[in-house]
Symmetry: C2
Subunit: 196 residues, 2 copies
């Protein structure tokens, strides 16, 4: 029995691909082992267990998503950048729903955790988007969370087939981008932020 030449990274990559094929909940150590050509217990020579596999897939996915977002917004600004980031994010989630699902509910162990690093990197493109709008510096974190919430929410709802109304989903998404653009443009108007 020759060796398969595995390591944590190749196993995580295979796991991510397999999850996208058969669904996140259907991803088992047994199926993953079969996919990479070894018996189940052999996986544990490289990865501590299912939780660790999950984390590795999440880190891989977040890095991948950050790259995609960065490339999409490269050289764009303002509304163009917003549109590009929004579409790139949604396309990514719809193309890799299970991979994305693996990133939900994961908490980084610390600031040096690859997951935390990738998450921060993924925020970069959104920060760049915000620079095209006139947001007060102390409001940037709030605006970032708003952007994440909006697009994460839409993408996950669509991926979960959660939109039941007859209206066209792509149209709704373009409407959403407009909606966000308007909200951001009026963010710096005096008096519009004195809530409570």
């Amino acid at each position: 029995m020759p060796r398969a030449g595995l390591n944590a990274a190749t196993i995580a990559a295979a796991g991510a691909a397999l999850a996208d094929e058969i669904g996140f909940t259907e991803l088992t150590m047994g199926r993953l082992a079969e996919r990479v050509g070894v018996r189940t217990p052999s996986l544990y020579k490289h990865i501590a267990g299912q939780a660790e596999l999950n984390r590795q897939i999440a880190a891989l996915t977040l890095t991948e998503a950050a790259d995609t977002l960065g490339t999409a917004t490269q050289g764009r600004a303002g509304r163009d950048a917003l549109t590009a980031a929004a579409r790139a994010m949604r396309d990514f989630v719809l193309a890799h729903p299970s991979r994305y699902a693996a990133t939900i509910g994961i908490t980084p162990t610390g600031p040096d955790d690859p997951i935390a690093v990738a998450e921060r990197r993924g925020l970069g493109p959104f920060e760049a988007v915000l620079r095209g709008y006139d947001i007060a510096p102390q409001e940037i974190p709030h605006a970032l969370r708003a952007l994440r919430s909006v697009f994460h929410g839409f993408a996950t709802l669509q991926a979960a087939n959660g939109f039941q109304l007859p209206a066209d989903i792509d149209e709704s998404f373009e409407w959403l981008i407009d909606f966000v653009d308007r909200g951001l443009r009026s963010a710096s108007i005096p008096g519009s932020t004195d809530h409570r």
Copy 2:
């Protein structure tokens, strides 16, 4: 051995409560059986299996959430209604994180599925909110999806501990409400919706 007087509804309710106590992933048929005072296989006399239990909990939760939202927005309009709906939704998710987690990733089997019914009922309060803004009728479905995406996204991310920035989360939420309010208020301004 006297009968326990169980049925699908009481089991689902017990499952929802137990999930909130010990966490959604810790909810097993064995623990649920212990909670309601029977042996594990007895549960299958009332509920087809874990998937069905999950759906029942989801339906229960969505109905409950719809009621809460309805009550919260009762007698309010415009920005007041928006604020009330947003806070009620987030409070609900934070109070019952596991119950809410059971609703994520569930796809209704059809328009008559109790889950689909409850989802539509949950849209009611948001439709009422939109009536307080000057939205063109053909844009209502888009605006509804936007509201769902925003608040579902924020609640999901917060429940998953997804916000890592040092900024205060409650402040971010109030900022988000302002943000949505501004986006909705400017929705009917001519020329602001000619995207692309």
